[in-house]
C-alpha cells in the first residue's frame, strides 16, 4: 500500500513528542538506579503528581503555561527532597529488596491518596494557547506539544551540561561508576544521592506537567508509563543515561508508526517485544558496557 508522506511525517512528529516524554521518565529512572542502586517503583507517581500540580496551577494562574510549569517543577523538586530524606536516605547499602518495598508503598499511597482527594475521574485542563498551533504544510501541531518538546530538549541539554561539565553532576557519574573511588576523592554519597533524586523527580514532573494539557490527567497515568520506563532502561543498558534517552525517543516513534499502520493494540506491546529481543541478543543493553577491564 502506498504510504502518504504527510501521514508518515505526522506520525513521526507525534512519536517524537511521545518519545521525549518517555525519555524524560527513563532518564530519571536511570539516574536514580545509577547513583542509589535502587529501582524506584514510585517513579510513575512522580509524573502523576507533576501532572496534577500542573492541572491545578493552570486554572489558578489563568491558563498561563510557563508560570504553571514553574510551579509544577518546584513542587516536584520539593517532592524529590521529601522522598529522599523521608525514605530513601534511610536505606542502607545493599538494601535492594527493601528499596523495592518502600518505593512500591510510596507509589500506592500516592496513587490512592490522589484518587481519594481528586477522584479517579480524568481531568482536562486548558491553557492560554487552547488548540492553537503552528501549521507545517498540511500538518498542524498545537503549541502545547511544541512547547512540551522544546522544554524536554532543553531539559536534556541542561542534564548533559550538569553531568559532564560541573563537579556537582560529575560526582553523580562518579558514584554510579565506582562508589569507593568516589569516597576516595571526598564525595559525600548522601548529598549526591539527594541531588540525583531531586533531578530525577524534576525530570519526571516536567514529563507529567507537559502531558497535562495534552492528555487526560488521572491518578493511574503513572502506572501505564512505569513499566514502559523499566523496559526502556533495560533496552538502553542499565545505568546508561544516553541509552535510556535514545531508547525513549526510538520507542515513541516506533509506537506511533505501529499505531498508525497496524491495530493500536500492538502499540502497547512494541516496547516489551523490543526489550525481550534486546535481552536475548545483547543482554547488557544497547548502550551498556559488557565488562570493564579491572586490572
Amino acid at each position: 500500500m502506498p504510504v502518504d508522506a504527510t501521514y508518515l511525517l505526522q506520525l513521526t512528529l507525534n512519536g517524537l513528542m511521545l518519545g521525549l516524554i518517555y525519555a524524560l521518565i527513563a532518564a530519571g529512572l536511570a539516574l536514580v538506579f545509577g547513583v542509589l542502586e535502587i529501582i524506584n517503583f514510585a517513579h510513575g507517581e512522580l509524573l502523576m503528581v507533576g501532572a496534577y500540580v500542573m492541572a491545578f496551577a493552570l486554572p489558578a494562574l489563568g491558563g498561563q503555561y510557563i508560570p504553571a510549569m514553574a510551579v509544577a517543577l518546584l513542587a516536584s523538586a520539593l517532592l524529590g527532597f521529601v522522598l529522599y530524606h523521608g525514605f530513601l536516605a534511610r536505606l542502607r547499602d545493599k538494601d535492594f529488596e527493601r528499596s523495592i518495598l518502600v518505593t512500591m508503598g510510596i507509589s500506592m499511597v500516592l496513587l490512592y491518596g490522589c484518587q481519594y482527594l481528586f477522584s479517579a475521574t480524568p481531568k482536562m485542563v486548558n491553557t492560554e494557547f487552547g488548540f492553537a498551533g503552528i501549521a507545517v504544510g498540511s500538518i498542524k501541531i498545537t503549541w502545547t506539544r511544541v512547547i512540551a518538546a522544546g522544554l524536554a530538549i532543553m531539559a536534556f541539554a541542561f542534564l548533559w551540561f550538569i553531568l559532564f561539565r560541573t563537579q556537582f553532576g560529575r560526582a553523580m557519574r562518579a558514584v554510579s561508576i565506582n562508589r569507593e573511588a568516589a569516597l576516595m576523592v571526598g564525595v559525600r554519597p548522601q548529598s549526591v544521592a539527594r541531588n540525583a533524586v531531586v533531578i530525577a523527580t524534576v525530570l519526571c514532573g516536567l514529563a507529567g506537567a507537559a502531558l497535562a494539557p495534552i492528555h487526560l490527567v488521572q491518578p493511574i497515568m503513572g502506572q501505564f508509563l512505569l513499566f514502559k520506563a523499566f523496559a526502556l532502561i533495560i533496552i538502553g543498558g542499565l545505568g546508561s543515561m544516553s541509552g535510556a534517552i535514545f531508547a525513549g525517543l526510538a520507542l515513541g516513534i516506533l509506537e506511533s508508526w505501529i499505531g498508525g499502520f497496524f491495530d493500536i493494540i500492538w502499540q502497547e506491546v512494541a516496547g516489551f517485544i523490543v526489550m525481550m529481543a534486546v535481552l536475548l541478543v545483547r543482554p547488557q543493553g544497547l548502550f551498556g558496557q559488557a565488562a570493564v577491564r579491572t586490572g
Binding site: Q167, R170, A171, R173, A174, I177, N178, E180, A181, A182, L183, M184, V185, G186, V187, R188, Q289, V292, R293, T294, G295
Partner: protein
C-alpha cells in the same frame, strides 16, 4: 622526628564483628611504614578505619594532634588523609583527565589546574594518557593513576592498600619507589603489602599484624632480618636477595 599519626587501642571491623583488636602504633612524619601480615590479619580493615570507611568500636586516632576517629571520610580528606583502596579504584568509564578533575572534588575550583599540574610532575608517565579511558589503562598505570588522584589534594598522610597487587615485578618496584618519592616531599606513607620483601626494602619502619593485633614493630631493616618474620612472611629466598 615528630609523630604524625598516633593510633591508640583501636578496635575496628564490620557490623558487629571487630577485625582489628586493640591496635596501637605511632608513625613518624615523612617516613614510609609497611604493614605486613597474613590473610585475614586485618590490614585492610586498619586502613579503612584510618580513612573512616569501616566501623570503629573503640580507640583513638590522633593525626597531627587532632583526634579524627569520629570524622567522616571527606572530613579526614580535608584534614590531609588520603587512602588508595585495594583493587581498582578509579572511574573506569571516564577519561584520565576527568578522573583528575574528580580528584579535585575537595578543592576550590581556582586551584584545580594547579593541583593537577603539580601532581603530573610527580607522575609524568600519566601525562600522555590524559585522553585515554581510565579502564583501558594497564593495571600498573591504573595503580599510578589512583595514587596520583589521591595526591591531588596534597595529603599529609598517604595510605596505600596493596599498591603492588597484580603488577609485574618491574611495576611493583616503580610503585615502591613512588612511595619513597612521595615521602621525600614530606608526606607520611603507610602501606599494606603482600610483597613484604619489596615493600620492606623501601620502608623505614615495619609493623607486623597478626589476627588483628600489633605483634611487632620496628625499623624495616631490623624486621626484615628477624628470623620469625623471615619464616612467616619472607620465605627462604629472601636470604639470597639480601646478601
Amino acid at each position: 622526628m615528630a609523630c604524625a599519626l598516633d593510633i591508640r587501642a583501636l578496635t575496628a571491623g564490620y557490623g558487629d564483628l571487630p577485625v582489628v583488636h586493640d591496635f596501637s602504633a605511632a608513625i613518624e612524619a615523612g617516613t614510609v611504614t609497611t604493614l605486613i601480615g597474613g590473610n585475614g590479619a586485618g590490614k585492610s580493615t586498619l586502613m579503612r578505619a584510618l580513612f573512616g570507611t569501616c566501623r570503629l568500636f573503640a580507640g583513638e586516632i590522633i593525626f597531627l594532634g587532632v583526634p579524627i576517629e569520629r570524622m567522616h571520610p571527606w572530613e579526614r580528606l580535608a584534614h590531609g588523609i588520603g587512602l588508595v583502596p585495594q583493587g581498582r579504584c578509579n572511574f573506569a568509564s571516564m577519561r584520565v583527565a576527568e578522573n583528575f578533575k574528580m580528584a579535585c572534588y575537595s578543592l576550590q575550583r581556582a586551584d584545580h589546574d594547579r593541583a593537577i599540574a603539580r601532581t603530573l610532575q610527580l607522575f609524568p608517565a600519566l601525562k600522555p594518557k590524559m585522553s585515554v579511558m581510565a579502564g583501558n589503562l594497564s593495571g600498573g598505570e591504573q595503580q599510578m593513576l589512583e595514587m596520583a588522584m589521591v595526591m591531588v589534594p596534597s595529603p599529609k598522610l598517604l595510605l596505600l592498600d596493596e599498591p603492588s597487587l597484580g603488577l609485574s615485578p618491574k611495576m611493583q618496584q616503580d610503585v615502591f619507589s613512588m612511595a619513597r618519592q612521595v615521602a621525600s616531599i614530606g608526606v607520611t606513607v603507610l602501606m599494606v603489602e603482600q610483597n613484604a620483601h619489596g615493600a620492606l626494602l623501601a620502608s623505614d619502619t615495619a609493623i607486623v599484624l597478626e589476627l588483628g593485633r600489633n605483634v611487632l614493630a620496628g625499623p624495616a631493616n631490623a624486621v626484615i632480618r628477624d628470623p620469625r618474620i623471615r619464616l612467616a612472611y619472607l620465605g627462604e629466598r629472601s636470604t639470597e636477595r639480601l646478601s
